[in-house]
């Protein structure tokens, strides 16, 4: 394992720590300097370092759906500009056919040189609030093809030389992107982040010298691979096949899409083989997933099922092998199909299908399914603000979110958002959103009895009601989580699906489709309920103290506690005397268990 040229392991550890510090600095820079809420609040961005030979070296704690593909983008950058890449350059890429996730993710790449050698590329990937689509949203579910979608696409285009903007490109963007100042602010933040890394990496190389840095990269990949080998060797040998469905698309995909993930765990070879080839062909909407997005979703979900501190880089990825279809909605788009919503809808389902597949290995493995769908509380809203001389606005909110999945050891995370965000986002302040947009939030609360029950419970759903305060407000909702609810595993129950309603001024509520663009008039209210996470394990085995907690917090009712968890209480919530009746609970659980058998 160790040979003569190996790095001192203490130095290996120190250098890895320094690189981690650099990607954290990139993340902080981007997060706090970014302009649009989709980056600074929803945290829809990621930073990483790739080697000069296009291997993912160090990802920051960013969105799991960005983890895979940057190395393909840097490789394309080197191929497109072979012989003409130098210090001071920066490149922009958002081509879903070239390793990128989807066109909304503008990826900034800075090649880092030391002593004339291209040793690293620093990469910052940010979801832009607008990218010049034909509709005022960077998520366009109904896009028939890339032309209908309308995004400006930059396949590894040089945007800086000698540290200065190539203004032609900036002007192109300004000419087509809505609220161009917001885009430019995010452009500065993304580029600033990649440049910060460049400065730090140059210092890193100066401190350790090129030979040591190269040895470090090799040894770090080897170390990461050893960790992965060790983890896979501790897993049972198995072939897992799991299927799942996406929501229907009215008039286009009435049955939704049936998705399949096949996983072969081979502890002898210490490999995990993922077969994504058994999936439907491309569709004439924006649901097609790019290679980068779909693979990231699956890789992220695999890491959800492994040791939590495994390094994620090209070294550990050596133990993963993928098979793709020739042409498919999953990871194999065919031009000119649109991948506009590649990182959400289908990718959300892929995360769920993959992480719950591991639960087939038995109790102690995998996760249940988490809540899916960008519902009303995460809608893109636009309009004209009557309070500011009808100034236009467009933004995605992050007010209410889905409930997270449960694991063998913990209940679901309340502020989960969607499987590809995995709880990393910040939620908006109601006051800030009311200040920025002419809307009022009437209520924002957790929904009692919504969670998927289990030994560990999925997180409950949330419900929001909002209304315009002046001019009409348009909401674009592209939610995939209102028909097929998140499923439980190992005996856990399913969560509850989301729903959207339009409430008229007379109080009547009408259900809206899951993908919808709606203009709210003053007096009308948009009501949205998100989905909840599925349960893990048999609810009758849930620790009664946890059930007590849930009833006290109002997450579950006493009725559900009795009917589903078999827990009987004495006393009351109001006077703080609520307590588990242990013997009655034992009887009730035995009764429920027996009733199941019959």
């Amino acid at each position: 394992m160790t040979d003569q040229t190996s790095l001192d392991p203490v130095l290996l550890s120190v250098m890895a720590n320094r690189l981690d510090g650099i990607v954290r600095e990139m993340t902080n820079t981007l997060l706090r300097a970014a302009r649009s809420a989709v980056i600074s609040s929803a945290r829809d961005f990621s930073c990483c370092l790739v080697t000069g030979e296009d291997e993912l070296l160090a990802p920051a704690e960013g969105l799991p759906v960005h983890i895979f593909g940057c190395h393909i983008q840097t490789a394309n950058m080197r191929r497109y500009h072979a012989g003409d890449i130098r210090r001071g350059d920066a490149y922009l890429d958002n081509d879903p056919y070239g390793g990128n996730t989807h066109p909304a993710d503008h990826t900034f790449m800075v090649p880092v040189f030391y002593e004339g050698e291209h040793l690293f590329t620093s990469v910052a990937k940010c979801h832009m609030a607008d990218i010049g689509n034909s509709i005022p949203s960077s998520y366009f579910v109904l896009a028939r093809d890339v032309y209908h979608e309308g995004a400006l696409v930059f396949p590894g285009v040089r945007i800086q030389r000698d540290f200065r903007n190539i203004e032609d490109i900036v002007r192109m963007c300004r000419a087509r992107i809505r609220v161009p100042d917001q885009w430019y602010g995010d452009y500065l933040a993304g580029l600033g982040s990649a440049r910060v890394a460049e400065r730090r990496l140059e210092e890193f190389c100066a401190k350790y010298g090129v030979p040591t840095v190269k040895r470090f990269m090799r040894d770090w990949f080897d170390y990461s691979e050893r960790r992965m080998i060790d983890n896979i060797r501790r897993m049972p040998k198995a072939r897992l096949v799991n299927k799942g469905k996406s929501d229907p698309l009215e008039g286009i995909l009435p049955g939704g899409l049936e998705l399949t993930v096949k996983i072969e765990i081979d502890p002898d070879e210490a490999m995990i083989h993922v077969d994504l080839s058994d999936n439907p062909p491309c569709v004439d909407v924006g649901l097609n997933t790019s290679l980068g997005a779909a693979t990231s979703a699956v890789v992220g979900a695999i890491f959800n099922a492994l040791d939590k501190d495994l390094p994620r880089n090209a070294g550990s990825f050596r133990r993963l092998r993928f098979t793709y279809a020739e042409e498919s909605v999953v990871a194999a788009p065919k031009f000119p199909h649109s991948c506009s919503v590649a990182t959400t809808n289908v990718s959300e389902r892929l995360v769920n299908i993959t992480q719950s597949a591991f639960a087939q290995l038995g109790d102690g493995h995998g996760l249940s399914e988490g809540g899916t769908g960008l519902g009303a509380g995460m809608a893109v809203i636009s309009g004209k603000d009557h309070r500011r001389a009808d100034a236009p606005f467009v933004n995605r909110m992050m007010l209410s979110t889905n409930g997270g999945p449960s694991s063998p050891v913990a209940d679901g995370w309340v502020n989960y958002a969607i499987p590809v965000i995995a709880g990393l986002m910040y939620r908006d302040s109601v006051e800030v959103d009311e200040l920025k947009h002419p809307i009022r939030v009437n209520a924002l609360e957790l929904v009692q009895d919504s969670a998927g029950a289990g030994r560990h419970r999925g997180a409950p759903a949330q419900q929001i009601e909002l209304t315009p305060t002046g001019n009409p407000v348009t909401a674009v909702i592209s939610c995939d989580g209102q028909h097929a609810p998140p499923r439980g595993v190992v005996g856990g129950l399913a969560g509850t699906p989301g729903a959207t309603w339009l409430v008229g001024d007379n109080g009547d509520a009408a259900r809206l489709p899951n993908v919808v663009q709606i203009t709210l008039q003053k007096g009308q209210t948009l009501r949205g309920r998100d989905s909840s996470g599925g349960g893990y394990g048999d609810p009758l085995t849930r620790d009664t103290a946890r059930v007590l907690h849930d009833v006290l917090e109002g997450w579950e009712s006493r009725d559900k506690a009795r009917a589903i968890y078999g827990v009987i209480f004495t006393g009351g919530i109001e006077d703080e005397t609520l307590a588990v009746d242990a013997s009655a609970t034992r009887e009730e659980r035995a009764k429920l268990m027996a009733a199941r058998g019959s």
Partner: protein
Amino acid sequence: MTGYRISVDTGGTFTDIVVLDPQGELHIGKSLTTPERIFDGMAGALRVVAEDLGIELTRLLAGTDVLIYGTTRATNAVVTKRTAKTAFLTTKGFKDTLTLKEGGKHGPHDYSYDYPDPYIPRRRSFEVTERIGAEGEVVQALNEAEARQILATLKQRGFEAVAVSLLWSIANPAHELMIGKLIEEMLPGIPYTLSHQLVPILREYRRASATAIDASLKPLMQKHLREMAADLREAGFAGDLLVSTSVGGCQEVDELIARPIHTLKSGPAMAPVAGRAYAAVEKLGGNAIVCDTGGTTFDVGLVRDGSLVYTRDSWLGQRWLGDIIGTSTVDVRSIGAGGGSIAWLDAGGLLRVGPQSAGSVPGPACYGRGGEHPTVTDAALVLGYIDPDYFNGGRLKLDPEAAHRVIARLAHQLGRTADETAAAIMVIANELMIKAIGEITVNEGVNPRESVVVAGGGAAGFNIMPIARELGCATVILPRLASALSACGMQYSDIVFEATRSRFTDDRGFDLTGVNRALEEIEAELLSFRQGLKGADGAEARVELLVEARYRAQVWELDTFLPKGRIQNTADVAALAEAFHQTHERVYAVRDEGSPVELVNWKGRIAIRLFAPPPPPDFTARSYLPKADTKRPCFFTETGRAATPVYRGTMLKPGAQIAGPAIIEEPTTTIVVYPGLSASLSAAGNYILHCVSSQPATA
């Protein structure tokens, strides 16, 4: 000054006392904290100093003008969940504000922990029908009958405190004020907090959290501070009692009884105050990185251009998982790293340190209490940096055999010698601290290479030199009283008070009237505070005005100092915008003049100087080479194991020059001078550690 000045820092484990005598000498006393009756531990530590001074405790207290009390009482009450039974009252539809928090999670692939509970449980949260809009308009009037009904329920259910935080109370406080009046009427004597009075800032979660925490602390802090005052009087103290706060200042007792939230994290906030004073005395510039190494935590704070650095993002417990304090506090980042951190080998063959800790029970193996895991303290003992008979001033005898046994076991797995392994543990433990320092300096745009490090805490001296060297900091100040850094800070602290108003505007359509009215109100509040202060007539006062500002559509604000006290015309607005551009450029390296600058919360801070900081010494110490007291075998990576000179700190005089490798032992701290580096004792009596070696730095 005629009498003594005493500062007291009650930590979780130790109570530190620093006494300034009338001759200007500082004395230190330490004892175990007595949580049941804090005064007992305090008196114990005071007796140590009194003995040192050759007087009785009562005489010391009787001769004391000012006593500054730093308390962790509020923090402990929160941690042990022994705060008052508190009701949370909010706008209908928003009962879950404290549960939903602001999002954020650690580890995208980590599903091993539950979602945290709200600060006040839902069964103690109540919704009132009412609504104020974003412009301050009344969308729905307060339903008074319903409010009365709720308060009647609170009375019946025996609530001890009430937190009231309504949406947009900062734009129009009428409804909160009305509820306040109803509480006075229906629940007389029950303490309550109104959000717009405590923290008039935008963002409902932050305001609600601060309000809930504050209200829940009121009953117990009232009792505690009044008892403390009585205990001190009874023991003979007749001077002024001040209490230290989270803004790195101190306040009169009554002020903190009204707003006890400000006592949270006041201990750590005082370390940067000390750092600022030491950097000034040693004339080492305006930027300092202040590190405080305790038994289980490592705290880092900053001094930038001679000023403390503040944040509104300070949490009780872990960020996102705990509860946000919401008020502005001195920015001190804390990581779990210390002598108890456990070293282990992971499945890839890499040596790791932490995050698991042996804590104090069973503690490191060398404590001899059954600890079987190798820790950082065990490594320091194996390396010879600790004298097993003189640890913690000899209070705890260590077992070197046990340390050797556990380190040797790890060494065997690693295929290295015990010495090499112990040195590697130190290097990796240092990395955690280097990263923590890196984060705060980067976030605040401070260059470590242009800063001095001020190190404190009992364990600082073991590794601060290699840490500083790695960061490129040439100089470390390690005060002789380093182990009581926070208590030292209190000796140099001002009375600090903040007033805030929320007035949202931007530089394009600047609200001159509204902003100036807010500034007038802030200054009036500061003035009334100043006038209400006893015993500070003629004291120097500094007022700073700031605004929390951002570019349009940014989510997070930056503190920006107002160039002028009032904003009267477009030139003033432009100057303010420019001040923000400069701040943004310093922190994020970019400025965007094309974007409107949004101005959110306005803030005034008054600092009233009660005590002059110590004057720099009026002489230069003459250099000399002291003689080592003894030698003991120590291991350093560069030199291997060799007899290393050990100096008794109490025998050293200003001007002493010590070249590494060497060990300096002070009664409450130990300094390891690494090979190639050196230390000296300054005229002011601080150790100055020179961390740039003549040879190129090694990893």
